[in-house]
Amino acid sequence: MSTFLYRLWTVLFVAALMLSCTQTLPNDYAELNEEVTISPDYRNLIIPCNIAPLNFKVEVSAEKILVGIQGDRGGSFVLKGPKVLIPEKKWRSLLEANKSGKYSVEVYARQNGEWNRYQPFTNSIAADSIDEYLSYRLIEPSYVLYENLCIRQRHLGSFWEKDIYNNNLVSEKEDFQCINCHSYQNYQTDNMQFHARAHHAGTLIVCDGVPRKVNLKTEQLISGGVYPAWHPFEKLIAYSVNNTNQLFHSKDIQKVEVLDRNSDLILYDIERNQVSIIQNDSIALETFPAWSPDGKTLYYSSARFESRTGDRESDLATYYQEIKYNIFSVPFDIEQRTFGEPRLLIDAESIGMSALLPRISPDGRYLLFSMAEYGTFHIWHKNSDLYLLDFQNNTIRSLEEVNSKDTESYHSWSSNGRWMVFSTRRDDGSYTRPYIAYFDEQGRAGKPFILPQKDPDFHLGFLKSYNIPEFMKEPVRVSPRKFARTLKGDAIQAVMR
């Protein structure tokens, strides 16, 4: 008898618990003729079928808020607001059931004792998945000084996030380390690299899963390697080498101007540990290399700047608005490891603009780049937007469906070419956030959405910028401690070819 009562009590208790968690939508409500404001703005999107829950906050004043989410092919649940935190399991089931379909969101708010329903909105679920991981550096939108820096990887199907490397592991009282420019070969992480500057400086290159530290600076070069571009399948990395200067606006809200005094392009052959020059015109500023998917063409940006007074640095500061980058391509002979003659691809200067960061889509059809009125570091230029060159019909257009009134800059394609991630400061003008947008076969992009977080208010309170968002198909498996040990060791000195 006592066993029976115990079991009965347990069942009743669990049932009560489940009932208390189950919400139902009100039957009696007034239909409002307005759209609900939510943050982040996850309305009318095309989302990947394997993305993490798009948790959001309903930005209305109400005594109670209920949200109904329903897939058009099945799956529904009701959640409480204002912070709508979608259970991951239910979310994954919804996406799975409604691939290539849609789901709708209805928001009910009880105001002055009565329920109101806002206009529902729908999101489409693409059949195309997104790469499973995204990596980025977290850094304050700062000026000169740095301290706690990390490169992180995030699983896009959940909220899992982990350090790839954190400079805390080696920093000491007055010796700190800058880390930057993480980059992967063809979305795989067995071959990857990033730089460390100042304390225990060097370039950390992982080749076939084995990390090593390399010093890319030779006597002939103006610096060690800076912006990297892995060849899609050869053990080669193209780098820019840059002498960079930072200037400060006394009043302009763009605040900072980053200029290259000099920049060139080099190629690093990992297996031979050899560096060779790709471009080093003393007047041209070559930077931001990127490979075509077939590895036969290298793209890069270049601007010509001749000093007027003989003081190049001073002239750069005076005439910085005249520095306009164009995009070039140069053929590459994989067997011989030699480059042909560069060809002007996008003459941005002719229209008074500066084009940077060329990135080719995996199918080779499109070239995505950022363009602003001048200069080289577009994250500080509010008029920087994303543009698309279609090689098929040789047209260039502004990606209006993606651009905002503020900065759009660093961008990456997913491995299947159906998604793009880019850096933008559209939310507040200062803190860079990664936004993801769909890219269909017709070359149109969907409405971009911010990287989802467990707490919808996370991005509002987070005081770091997301820098260099890059897709990966798999996580980085080398541990942060192994990176730290490698960085503390001696660097292999690269030699000129």
């Binding site: 304050e140 000169v144 000084l145 954190n166 006394s250 009043k251 809200i253 208010d457 005081l463």
Partner: protein
């Protein structure tokens, strides 16, 4: 039976018994007096320091903020320290809370170490070390990464396990507490978990010696426990995913990144740790083996207070700076000037800048700025991170209307030392005045998660919706008027005082609000060739000539043999008369060396621009 204490032939002297309850009264009185002292020390004597500490320490009621503090061992202590620090927004409130906590800690110490009545106030010595640690804080507070009160939290926590163990007298229970403390405590409390474990270990050792436990077995047990205590941090490092620098494995929770070149800042922490160990070692001694001396407890009390008073950092410039910064945070310019008027012949550059900002806000800048000493006393600290720019730029750039500089230096400070209420406030205001509304909204959102800045932040939301209201705020209106200059793209200006002076000196035009700053910069830098164009701006605008402008005009006209003509009528007759006296004094003493002449002129004309121009040279700033 013969009394052990008596010897054959010795006359026995019986000492009078102390009245019952004597020790109790001494102890209670001692504790109460210490509490009063602590309240006075924290809430009155060091009120400005504690207020400033809370401006430099952010605590948010937010899950993400909490989880961030779990990223490395000792993080929870930081969390606790920051939580306590915020209450010093009202220094007396913070003092009450902290004093109560100290008394609680005292009570734990007495129970944990089983202090007999005649030694009970020995427990005040660790408390004194905690107060001393606070009292020793100097300019390093501006460049510290760790919160001061996190160390107090750590010390209290270190005693807690021994206190809890009193309720579980058995050896096995105590061993279990020790093992649990190290395993579960180290990830959150770092060094202080290890210290607590060490105190327990000593207690176990002492207990084992008094029990009938076999000594070899005892030694073996103690050795194993010690090895366990030492092994857990490296194991944690190897197995956990936390970002741990192995160099500081046993020191997490301590301010390892702070106090470069100032090792004496560790004195109080080391002393406190040793005192706790000493108290633990007392368990090896039979507490009733020595005769209870009634004067020991008062002695401990006196020693404790003496250590705190003698060891606390005393520096007129530092104390004045803290008080001025507190006044500035309330925009109480009268208070700033009252502090500036206190006798101090050697203010540092930061005090001079704060004073000038206050004078400007009271419309007295070029009237009175040279009536105060203009010196360049360096910061009295060996901490090389401390500079005028790092310490002062976040605040003073804002009041000069240099919003981008203000934003920049607050951001740089945030990068180096973590987000602070002060930085967030000034970044919010700079963004607001720069019309970067979404950015200002972000900082308002964060400040609304604090206890004491919430209201102030929320009041600023009204400007997000209606920026025109900024002009109805007197301070913001003035600051906006100071921003009416042409943008200039320039190199990194790391010496902020020079950047500010150059900015105002080089202005070709501006609003009336900028005029005083421009003229004061010209006078400060003695930019003679810029003086007359600015002088004539006053004249042409029919603005009254401030005293120092008159003084400069008379002096420069004298040097240049320039005839001022009708302009003389704009001068105050008293200034004219004084200038004649100045001329007579200097002309009749040309035989003196420069130093002797300076000393002579200083006696009568120190509070004039003439003395400054002629004899104050080579001022250094950083």
């Amino acid at each position: 039976m013969r009394n052990k204490s008596s010897k054959p032939g010795k006359k026995q002297v019986s000492r009078p018994e102390l009245p019952a309850g004597t020790f109790t009264w001494i102890n209670i009185t001692g504790s109460l007096l210490f509490a009063l002292y602590s309240f006075w020390f924290l809430g009155i004597h060091k009120a400005d320091l504690m207020f400033r500490l809370q401006e430099l320490t952010l605590f948010l009621f937010d899950k993400t903020f909490f989880y961030e503090h779990l990223q490395s061992p000792g993080g929870l202590l930081e969390y606790a320290g920051k939580f306590l620090t915020q209450f010093f927004y009202y220094p007396r409130l913070g003092a009450v809370i902290l004093t109560a906590l100290l008394l609680l800690w005292q009570w734990m110490l007495v129970r944990a170490f089983d202090l007999p009545k005649h030694l009970r106030l020995l427990s005040l010595l660790p408390l004194s070390m905690a107060l001393l640690y606070i009292g020793m804080q100097e300019y390093s507070i501006f460049v510290a990464k760790y919160s001061v009160l996190s160390q107090l939290a750590g010390m209290i926590l270190a005693v807690l396990p021994l206190f809890v163990a009193r309720f579980f007298p058995g050896t096995r229970a105590r061993i279990l507490i020790l093992l649990t403390l190290v395993l579960l405590g180290y990830p959150f409390f770092g060094f202080y978990a290890l210290l607590g474990a060490l105190l327990l270990w000593v207690g176990l050792f002492a207990a084992g010696r008094t029990e009938t436990e076999h000594q070899t077995k005892l030694l073996l047990r103690q050795l194993l426990l010690l090895l366990f205590l030492l092994a857990v941090p490296p194991l944690f490092f190897l197995l956990s995913g936390q970002n741990i620098n192995p160099k500081y494995l046993f020191a997490y929770g301590l301010p390892v990144y702070d106090y470069p070149n100032t090792p004496w800042m560790w004195t109080a922490l080391v002393a406190c740790s040793l005192l706790l160990l000493g108290l633990a070692l007392l368990s090896f001694v039979k507490k009733d083996s020595c005769r209870p001396l009634w004067w020991l407890n008062p002695l401990f009390f006196v020693l404790g207070i003496t250590f705190v008073q003698a060891g606390s950092y005393k520096d007129l410039n530092f104390e004045t700076q803290l008080a001025m910064e507190r006044a500035i945070s309330h925009e109480d310019w009268d208070k700033v000037l009252e502090l500036a008027r206190k006798p101090n012949d050697n203010p540092n550059r930061l005090l001079v800048i704060y004073r000038n900002i206050a004078l400007y806000n009271k419309n007295q800048l070029c009237e009175r700025m040279f009536t105060f000493p203009n010196t360049d006393e360096p910061f009295h600290t060996k901490n090389t991170l401390v500079s005028n720019t790092i310490v002062g730029a976040p605040v003073n750039c804002f009041y000069y209307g240099l919003l981008n500089y203000s934003y920049r230096w607050n951001m740089e400070n945030m990068v180096l030392f973590g987000p602070r209420p002060e930085n967030l406030r000034f970044m919010m205001m700079s963004a607001l005045l720069n019309r970067e509304m979404e950015l200002a909204g972000k900082y308002i959102h964060i400040l609304e998660k604090t206890l004491f800045y919430k209201k102030w932040a929320s009041e600023h939301r009204v400007y997000l919706d209606d920026p025109a209201l900024l002009l109805e705020n007197k301070q913001y209106k003035t600051l906006l008027a100071l921003t009416q200059y042409e943008n200039l793209l320039g190199q990194d200006q790391r010496v902020i005082e020079l950047a500010i002076l150059n900015h105002f000196c080089n202005l070709k035009s501006g609003t009336d609000e900028m005029l005083e700053w421009s003229m004061s910069s010209i006078l400060t830098t003695k930019s003679v060739y810029k003086f007359w164009p600015m002088f004539f701006v006053y004249v042409n605008k029919n603005l009254p000539l401030p005293r120092h402008v008159q003084e400069a005009a008379l002096l420069l006209a004298y040097f240049e043999k320039r005839d001022l003509g009708d302009l003389i009528n704009l001068m105050d007759p008293r200034v004219l008369q004084r200038f004649d006296e100045f001329k007579r004094l200097t002309e009749s003493n040309t035989h003196l060396t420069e130093e002797m002449l300076a000393a002579l002129v200083k006696r009568s004309f120190e509070k004039s621009y003439w003395y400054y121009f002629c004899f104050v040279k080579d001022l250094k700033t950083n």
